[in-house]
C-alpha cells in the first residue's frame, strides 16, 4: 500500500515536471505561446513560484493540488477546478455505463463459456473475440456511429440528450464503443481462468465428497478463478480511462476527455496537467483497491506480506 502511495507521488512529480521539460520557460509553456506584458509576466512568475528552485515549486504545486487548487485555465479564463467540475459529469456517466457493460457482459459470457466447453462454437466465438479486442474504441466508435446512427438511424449522433433516460439513450453507442474490446478481453480471461480452476484437483476432491456441482463451482472454482480476473480488471480500468478520451472525442461529448484534447490543442497547459493527474490518480486508486482485494480473496498473499 505504501508502494502505491509512492507511485502516486512519483506520477504527480512526472506530470509536474513536464512543464520544465517542455521547450521554453515554464511561464511560456503555461501561457501556451500567448503574449503578456512584462508587468503581468512578473506577477505570474511570482504567483507560480517560477523564481524558486524546482523542488520548491513542486512542493507548492502539490500543496495546491491537495487543497483543490489546480491552477488557472488560460483558455477559459477561469480556475481549472471549476472548468473541470463543469465537464466531469459526462465522463463519469460514460465511464460508469461502460464499466457496467464490461463487467456484466464480460463476466457472464466468460462464466457461461467456461462451464460449457463446446467445440466448434468455442473456436468461432473466441476467434471473433480476438478480433473484437483488437479494435480500439475510436475505430469501433466510428463503425458503430456509421452503422447504427447513420445507416439505421436507431441512435442519435453527437449529442448528450436530456434527462436520465435521454442521457442513457445518447450514451449507449459511446458506451458500447468503449466497452466492446474490453468486454471481449474480460470474457476471455474469465473463461480461461475459470476453466483452469474447474480442472483443479481440489475441485475434484470436493466432487468426490458429494458436494453439489453448483456449490463446488461457486465455493471453490469461482474464488480461485477470480484472481486473474481481478488482475485484468486493473488493466481494463486504465483502458477505460484512455478509451473514454477517444470515445468522447469521436462522439462529440463534452466530458473531461474532450476537454483534455481541446486543452492540448489550445495549449492550455494547466488544464492538461490537472486532467492527466486526476485520471492517473483514479487509475492508481483502482489498482490499489485491486491489490487490497487480492489479500481478501487469496490468503496466501497475506501470508507473503507477513513473511516479508
Amino acid at each position: 500500500m505504501l508502494a502505491s502511495a509512492m507511485l502516486l507521488l512519483a506520477s504527480s512529480f512526472v506530470v509536474f515536471s513536464l512543464i520544465a521539460i517542455a521547450p521554453g520557460s515554464p511561464l511560456q509553456v503555461l501561457l501556451g505561446g500567448r503574449k503578456v506584458d512584462r508587468a503581468t509576466a512578473l506577477i505570474l512568475e511570482h504567483r507560480y513560484h517560477f523564481d524558486k528552485p524546482f523542488l520548491v515549486q513542486y512542493g507548492y504545486w502539490l500543496r495546491n493540488v491537495v487543497h483543490g487548487n489546480l491552477g488557472d485555465s488560460i483558455a477559459y479564463r477561469d480556475t481549472v477546478a471549476s472548468v473541470i467540475k463543469s465537464r466531469v459529469a459526462p465522463t463519469l456517466e460514460l465511464g460508469l455505463y461502460a464499466t457496467v457493460l464490461v463487467l456484466v457482459i464480460g463476466l457472464t459470457l466468460g462464466v457461461i463459456a467456461a462451464i460449457r466447453r463446446g467445440r466448434r462454437t468455442d473456436a468461432v466465438a473466441s476467434f471473433a473475440m480476438l478480433i473484437a479486442s483488437s479494435i480500439s474504441p475510436y475505430v469501433s466508435g466510428i463503425l458503430l456511429i456509421w452503422f447504427f446512427a447513420v445507416e439505421l438511424r436507431w441512435f442519435p449522433v453527437f449529442s448528450l440528450g436530456t434527462g436520465v433516460s435521454g442521457r442513457v439513450y445518447h450514451l449507449t453507442l459511446p458506451a458500447i464503443a468503449l466497452a466492446l474490446g474490453l468486454t471481449a478481453l474480460l470474457g476471455r480471461v474469465t473463461r480461461a481462468s475459470l476453466s483452469q480452476a474447474l480442472g483443479e484437483d481440489y475441485v475434484q476432491t470436493a466432487r468426490s465428497r458429494g458436494f453439489r456441482e453448483r456449490r463446488v463451482i461457486f465455493k471453490h472454482a469461482f474464488r480461485s478463478a477470480f484472481i486473474p480476473v481481478l488482475t485484468i480488471t486493473g488493466v481494463i480500468a486504465g483502458y477505460l480511462i484512455s478509451g473514454a478520451v477517444l470515445v468522447e472525442y469521436t462522439f462529440g461529448l463534452n466530458g473531461l476527455g474532450s476537454l483534455l484534447v481541446d486543452s492540448v490543442q489550445s495549449r492550455d497547459f494547466a488544464v492538461v496537467q490537472a486532467i492527466v493527474l486526476i485520471f492517473t490518480a483514479v487509475f492508481l486508486v483502482i489498482n490499489l483497491v485491486v491489490d487490497l482485494l487480492y489479500v481478501v480473496i487469496d490468503p496466501r498473499t497475506r501470508l507473503a506480506e507477513e513473511g516479508s
Binding site: Q204, T205, R209, G210, K219, R223, L303
Partner: protein, 326 residues
Amino acid sequence: MSFLRVRNLVTELRDNGGYTRVVRDVSLDVERGEFVGLVGESGSGKSMTARSIVRLLPPGAKSRGDVVLDGTSILDLAPSQLRDVRVHRMSMIFQDPRASIDPLYRCGDHLFDALHNLMGMKRVAARRRALELLTDVGIADPQWVYRSYPDELSGGMLQRVMIAGALASEAGFLIADEPTTALDVTIQAEIMAILEGLRKEKQLATLFITHDLELASMICDRILVMYAGLIVEGQTTAGIFTTPQHPYTAGLLRARPHLEHRRDRLEVIPGRPPRADEVPDGCPFSPRCAFIKPECTLRPPAVNEVSPGRFSACWRSAELADRLTP
C-alpha cells in the same frame, strides 16, 4: 457377497474424436475391513479403475460393467443418488494433498464444510467433530491446524488433514490413490502407520492404489497387479512375493535390487508397457514375456482361479509355477 464387487468394468476416455480403452475388463472384490492393493505402473489403468468406481472421470468418458457397493449398483445411480453415496458411503484420498485441498480456505473449513453442510451437523458439533478427527489422524495441535491455511502446513500434515476429511463421512469404503507418492519416505511411514491404525479401528474396506509393490505389501491383505488395463494377478500379499503366478509379477520381483545377493547387472523386463492406444491383440504382456507361446497372441487372457484365492491371467501359470518363483 463382497462389500465391494466389481465385475467386467470397462472404461473408455474420449480422445480427439475416438475413444481409448484404459480399463479393459476388471473384476475385483473387497471385503469389510480388508485392504486390497491395486498395484501397477503409470498408465496401467489403476487410477482410472478407482475413478470409475467413484465415477470421477474426465468429461466424455464412458464406463460400463457392474460396480456394486453393499448392494447398491453405482454405475446406475442418478446424480443426486450418487452424491448421497459419496457423502455417506464412500470416500477417497488423493495423491497430492497440496493440490487436492483448496488453498484459499483454512484446513478446518475443509472438514467443517462437509460436516456442517453435507452431513447436517450443527456448527458447534461440527467444529468439535472436526477437531476430534484431526486428533484421530495423529495431529498434536488440532486447534492450530484447524486455523491454518494449507500453505502453512507440510505435505505430511496436509495428507493427514485429507485423511481426516475422508473419515468425516463415516463411510464404509475408502479408496486411497497413491496417498504417499508425493511425500518424503520418512513421512510415508507415518501416513502408512495412520492407515494401519484406521484399519484396525474402523474396519474400512479399502482399495489401496500404488506403483510400489513393497509399499502395498506393508499394509495390504491382498494384492492385485494391473497391466495395460487388466488385472493380471491377484493373491494374498505373502503369496505374491513367494509364489507369483504371472510372468509380469515375477519380472517385477526379480527386478528389485537385493542387499544380499549381489549381481553384476540389475534385471529388467525388456521393453516398456504399451500406451492405452497401442495395446496388442491377445495378451498385452506377451511382447515382453519370456515365456511367450504362439497362443498368447491369439486370445485375450482370461483371469482364472489357479487355486483358491489365487487368480492369474496367464494361461500357463500352473505350468510355469516353479520358474516364476524368485
